[in-house]
């Protein structure tokens, strides 16, 4: 299975099951439309040449020879043999990450919030220290031989319960030393309560900080409102700039959400750059169709064009060595995760769980409040996660999702978001179509950017070297 497309002056061919990526010329690009029919004997060489009458015969023959060589080398039309891998078939996932909903309360009232202003449709409350401690112990007890453990402080707004966050970080580090585990903490915040003390603690202890801001002031303030219905941009931006300025080289993301009202979201990403932020992300809102800001299928052409517009500008930046990064355009073509990881995806319900302030356990933060997916309570004498539900999530992967099997993006998106599949299609095995379309476009953009960087970046480096030699 191959996927080919043209973007930014490049003709790109992906060997989907092998992971190879090639840049080809026009004759090869067109030849690949007929190659399988020719190879399988449904077309002889004469017919092949006739179907490509715009090219010289010797060009076609030379291109054909190269394609045949690549296939022989296992770099094109690779077979998908991964479902038979023992490491995949016999895998026994252990829990390695928890999302702690440290506060079911919030000091903003963003119009699109899936947590419904922080309380997930329930009572407003904060996680007691006892629940958080028990959750960390549960994680250690159920993590098998896995050494690196992840804990996300989430909400609601976690800074509203920051004393408990601090206590849990210290407790986790102590627990880790005793049990030979390495806790990696992250926090997602709207920034309202940030001050220098909190910033210093976050920068010292949080492996990643996700900072919520939607971009341009007008766009942000249309959706992200304070409790007195004013925009939050002027309050938040200086605090995030302060945090990032003091953060050094540690990971963070300025994370925005775009909606139907901001389909020109590339301008918001560029605004992040103007504000001095380097690590950025912009996610599509996921919301029911009846909401006026929800993204609809009819918006897709505009959204896909916007991703490509951003990608062209971003490619120029990367060729010049600009460190600015956009989360969905980051792809590692030299290795990336192993194929087992790529097949099995996010690990919700099997490797990753979400805990509410009351201690209720859900497959991930997107399921919180949906009683049908409650898996137990962390404070029970003995926690027995429902085996049937864990198996249900474990068996939801790219080979059990029919749409994924034939998708060129399957080893990069790993089957998409389970919660979105259930929410929009009522079936974990039917991916959310709008999300898939965007994912495919982002992957095409990301690979084009890497190709540009590898080809033009190398030329630029060579040019700089030439200039240096001349200068000397």
């Amino acid at each position: 299975m191959i996927h080919k497309y043209k973007m930014n002056g490049l003709s790109i061919v992906m060997d989907v099951n092998g992971g190879s990526v090639h840049v080809v010329d026009d004759v090869t690009y067109d030849l690949l439309d007929h190659y399988e029919a020719y190879r399988d004997g449904q077309m002889d060489e004469k017919a092949l040449h006739e179907s490509m009458s715009g090219y010289e015969p010797e060009e076609i023959s030379a291109s054909l020879k190269e394609v045949e060589e690549l296939e022989k080398e296992g770099l094109l039309y690779t077979e998908d043999t991964y479902p038979e891998l023992a490491a995949f078939r016999n895998r026994k996932p252990v829990i390695k990450a928890l999302c702690l909903n440290i506060a079911h309360d919030c000091n903003l009232k963003c119009r699109y919030c899936f947590a419904q202003q922080g309380d997930f449709g329930g009572a407003k409350c904060l996680m007691p220290l006892s629940v958080g401690k028990r959750a960390l112990e549960f994680l250690v007890e159920n993590s098998g031989n896995r050494r690196n453990l992840e804990v996300d402080f989430f909400g609601g707004e976690p800074l509203m319960n920051f004393d408990v966050v601090k206590e849990l970080v210290h407790y986790g580090n102590k627990l880790g030393q005793e049990r030979n585990k390495n806790f990696r903490f992250t926090i997602t915040t709207n920034g309202v309560l940030l001050d220098d003390k909190k910033i210093d603690f976050i920068n010292e202890h949080m492996h990643n900080a996700v900072l919520s801001l939607d971009g341009r002031k007008k766009i942000n303030d249309d959706m992200r409102l304070t409790m007195v219905d004013t925009g939050s941009y002027d309050l938040i931006v200086p605090k995030f700039q302060r945090l990032v300025e003091k953060r050094g080289n540690k990971t963070y993301y300025i994370r925005g959400t775009f909606t139907r009202n901001s389909l020109d979201f590339s301008e918001d990403v560029k605004h992040f750059k103007e504000l001095g932020f380097v690590h950025t992300s912009m996610e599509p809102v996921v919301s029911a169709d009846e909401n006026p800001y929800a993204i609809r299928e009819e918006d897709l052409p505009e959204i896909l064009a916007e991703y490509e517009k951003l990608a062209l500008e971003y490619a120029d930046m990367k060729v010049k060595g600009d460190p600015f990064s956009f989360f969905h355009f980051i792809v590692d073509l030299t290795q990336g995760p192993c194929v087992i990881k790529r097949i099995t995806g996010c690990g919700a319900g099997t490797e990753y769980l979400s805990i509410t302030p009351e201690g209720d356990i859900y497959p991930c933060h997107q399921f919180v409040g949906n009683e049908a997916y409650k898996m137990g309570n962390i404070m029970e004498e003995e926690v027995h996660l429902p085996e049937e539900m864990q198996t249900y999530f474990k068996n939801a992967h790219v080979y059990t999702k029919e749409d994924c099997r034939t998708c060129f993006s399957k080893f990069y998106c790993s089957g998409g978001c389970h919660a979105n599949a259930i929410s929009f299609n009522g079936d974990i095995h039917k991916p959310y179509k709008i999300g898939c379309e965007m994912q495919r476009k982002r992957l095409e953009c990301a690979i084009m950017i890497e190709a540009k960087r590898m080809i033009d970046g190398a030329e630029e480096d060579a040019e700089e070297t030439r200039e240096e030699v001349l200068f000397l």
């Binding site: 190879s20 840049v23 010329d25 690196n148 990696r184 290795q335 080809i455």
Partner: protein, 31 residues
């Protein structure tokens, strides 16, 4: 040296099968 095709990366998935599945990767919502 191929004239018509420039290969940017070779078969990363097949390589990763050798030691795949160690589980030490981060959740996702080397040597």
């Amino acid at each position: 040296m191929k004239k018509h095709i420039k290969t940017l990366t070779k078969s990363t998935l097949k390589k990763s099968v050798i030691k795949g599945g160690c589980g030490e990767c981060q959740t996702s919502c080397a040597d």
